[in-house]
């Protein structure tokens, strides 16, 4: 069968089981949008290309599948760079297809030309400029495979317009030609035994569960491993939900704004069982002072993560789900030997957890504390919802306060810290999880204003996300740093709470809009919004502008110096 390159793109995506794509047409990609008319693919027309790539990310994070975005050349391709780097740092499987100027025009500074493979080389796992039409099916198949295996990540395929228009005899390749790509899946047997030896001798072991567990879909294996050996579990920002918060073995989230008990448990531990985590600076604080007494087991599918920031005692390269399966299998066979006697340690950790809850002062009347708002949101939408956050204070409070119960229930921009992520990511997640699972987008007023134009796409394509803006009238996290570390000299952080009027924004998009000004209004507004499940909703929650996120480890500081509360901060700065 003779097909055009453009038809081959659509056929390749269908072959790979893709059902949903996010994109925006334009000059060089025009040929690909023609066969889309006859394709079963569901295409969401975004309002800015950054929205397309964040939607693909949200879709991928919510489903575990590859998220796909299609945009044109030049400015469209450069508009997705932020999302590609976001996906790169958070290991999200994304396939980006970009149009390129015609082969003969490449290098001539043609209209809407940009060196897209050059620009995206450092922010993708791999990319390819397709040079002949017959290569399209293999290029897309390989890109999909690279994006979704090993350590997942974004892969970009750049296709010149003449190649989209060229005709060839369709053939779907049954193999792939990737001689330099073979990720390790199974852990080394001896290392697995060594890891269990260390665990059996440990007195204060802690599981350091990272976001790679979510990518690997390893929640069952983790649960079995942790509960069988009765090991305390700490879940990072990227791993929230992979172990249920309500379980007695769960300690908390570590790091800069983590739970006090989790950070403390790391610092006192004698063995960190590191599972698909990467000793990120937001977790470790000053690296030399991080978990100083701990030996390290490090499981990761990416060999380059092992030893990058902290030298492990037992390195295990492999897929976290598979390696956990191996650990469980070996441990089960000789449980009495392997299981450490650590009831005293568990009791200590439990006492820290009970003794250091998150606390804030909510008055019975008047202004809403942001923590109260987020707790009420979590209570209203409950366990069944997926929660998506942007970046900043609202993100930290959400990660601290929502009681997560499963993997892929929490989506946020961790590594890159991309403001504007939440609105499109939540829409992508909603497309992925479907009608029956509510998706709640908790955003800041700063973040929201970066990408809220995508609400038009949510309305047009019937993507009923609940958008909630925690509106404090500031770039809150920046304001917090200026308050704490720049003597309260606030510089360019004010975003007036009424500008724009978010209820009128909702009205302009033809969706219900609500506002809660006081604590008395909060729950009734949330209840009203909760009842609406068939279309997008926007809620403006006005909160205390001056609330700070605690606990906090100051940037570059040691985790031993964690400041637990506003009161402790004031006490320390008075000295």
């Amino acid at each position: 069968m003779q097909v055009t390159g453009a038809q081959a793109v659509m056929k390749s995506l269908e072959q790979l089981g893709v059902t949903d794509v996010f994109g925006y047409p334009g000059g060089a990609i025009l040929p690909a949008y023609d066969p889309l008319v006859d394709s079963p693919l569901n295409h969401v027309l975004v309002r800015h290309e950054q929205g397309a790539v964040h939607m693909a990310e949200g879709y991928a994070q919510a489903t575990g599948k590859v998220g796909v975005c299609i945009v044109t050349s030049g400015p469209a391709a450069t508009n997705i760079v932020t999302g590609l780097q976001d996906a790169h740092l958070d290991s999200i499987p994304v396939l980006a297809i970009t149009g390129q100027v015609a082969s003969g025009a490449i290098g001539s500074d043609a209209f809407q030309e940009a060196d897209v493979t050059g620009i995206t080389m450092p922010c993708t796992k791999h990319n390819e400029l397709v040079r002949e039409v017959a290569r399209i099916p293999a290029a897309i198949k390989e890109a999909f495979h690279i994006a979704s295996t090993g350590r997942p990540g974004p892969v970009l395929v750049d296709i010149p317009k003449d190649i989209l228009n060229a005709v060839f005899e369709w053939r779907w390749p049954d193999t792939m030609d990737l001689p330099g790509y073979r990720p390790t899946v199974r852990g080394h047997g001896k290392m697995v035994k060594d890891a269990l030896d260390l665990i059996s001798q440990a007195e204060r072991p802690v599981i350091y569960a990272g976001g790679g567990l979510v990518r690997a879909g390893a929640q069952e294996e983790l649960f079995e491993f942790a509960t069988m050996l009765e090991l305390p579990v700490v879940t990072t920002l990227m791993a929230r939900g992979v172990f249920p918060d309500r379980h007695e073995l769960w300690v908390g989230m570590p790091g800069m704004h983590g739970h006090w008990a989790a950070t403390k448990a790391f610092q006192e531990s004698d063995l960190l069982i590191t599972l698909a985590a990467r000793f990120d600076d937001r977790v470790t604080g000053r690296l030399e002072d991080f978990a100083p007494k701990a030996r390290i087991i490090h499981v990761d599918v990416d060999p380059a993560e092992i030893g990058k920031n902290r030298e492990p005692d037992v390195p295990i390269v492999g897929d976290a789900k598979v390696v956990l399966g191996q650990l469980v299998e070996v441990a089960r066979a000789k449980l009495a030997e392997v299981k450490p006697e650590i009831s005293a340690w568990r009791a200590t950790v439990a006492a820290w957890k009970a003794g250091h809850p998150l606390a804030w002062d909510q008055a019975d009347e008047g202004v809403i504390k942001p923590q109260t708002a987020i707790s009420a949101i979590a209570q209203t939408w409950g366990d069944e919802a997926v929660y998506v956050a942007g970046v900043g204070q609202h993100q930290m409070w959400s990660s601290q306060l929502i009681p997560f119960s499963r993997q892929r229930q929490w989506i946020n921009s961790g590594g890159l810290g991309t403001m504007g992520f939440a609105v499109p990511a939540a829409m992508g997640a909603k497309v992925g999880v479907g009608r029956d699972v509510p998706v709640v987008c908790i955003d800041g007023d700063g973040c929201f204003q970066m990408t809220f134009q995508e609400i038009a796409a949510a309305v047009q394509h019937d993507i009923p996300v609940t958008f909630i803006v925690i509106n404090n009238g500031y770039l809150g996290m920046v304001r917090q740093w200026q308050s704490l570390f720049y003597e309260g000299r606030l510089s360019q952080v004010t975003l007036p709470q009424d500008l724009p009027d978010l209820v009128k924004i909702a009205d302009a998009y033809g969706i219900p809009g609500f506002r809660a000004m006081t604590i008395a209004e909060l729950q009734p507004v949330l209840d009203k919004a909760h009842e609406i499940t068939d279309r997008p909703v926007l809620i403006d929650v006005r909160v205390d502008p001056m609330e700070n996120v605690f606990p906090m480890v100051p940037a570059g500081g040691s985790n031993d110096d964690v400041i637990e509360s506003d009161a402790e901060w004031r006490e320390r700065s008075a000295q």
Partner: protein, 178 residues
């Protein structure tokens, strides 16, 4: 022995594809690794190119460099070639000022190094030498008093001593050429 502290020779076998050198060089730049020299060329297998990189780093960083290189999809294999156990060569062309009085002395010096006289003009001689970096440097030292007008040098290329080959195609999982 040329085991200059912190200099490591990496033989990197890559698929012969467009942009692969940019990927390798870009990775070094973006992660802040130092390249002393880099030489790229074909191998006995047309599907494979060989990049020889002399990296300036301590051993701990070297492991991370190798791991990061391995993550590039087009990289097939990386071998560190130990100083002493490998044959290292660089090619150098050096143009030296020469008068009727000094010309024969310069040619004598070149002979001692088994260097070629690539070009002779009225007041300059160009000497070509392929050898170890140390010998290239010695020659330059000795020529310096005559006045060096121009010098160009390639990056190091290197092969391990003995019978073993690192470019056995079957082990690289390459597809047969169709």
């Amino acid at each position: 022995m040329s085991s200059i502290q912190g200099r490591h020779i990496l033989a990197v076998l890559v698929e012969n594809k467009p942009g692969v050198l940019t990927r390798v060089a870009g990775m070094f730049a973006r992660r802040g690794y130092n390249i002393h020299s880099l030489a790229v060329g074909p191998t006995e297998d047309p599907r494979v190119s060989r990049i020889t990189i002399v990296a300036g780093t301590e051993a701990v960083r070297l492991e991370q460099i190798i791991k990061q290189l391995n993550k590039l999809i087009h990289v097939l294999k990386i071998v560190e070639l130990a100083h002493g156990d490998s044959i290292e060569r660089e090619l150098q062309l050096v143009k030296v000022s020469a008068t009727t009085q000094t010309r024969s002395q310069i040619i004598e010096l070149a002979d001692v190094f088994h260097a070629e006289i690539a070009d002779v003009d009225h007041d300059a001689i160009t000497i070509e030498l392929a050898s170890t970096p140390e010998r290239l440097e010695s020659l330059v030292d000795l020529l310096a008093p005559y006045g060096i007008r121009e010098l160009v040098r390639t990056g190091t290329i290197a092969l391990a001593r003995g019978e073993k080959s690192i470019t056995d195609g079957s082990k690289l999982r390459l597809r047969p050429v169709s």
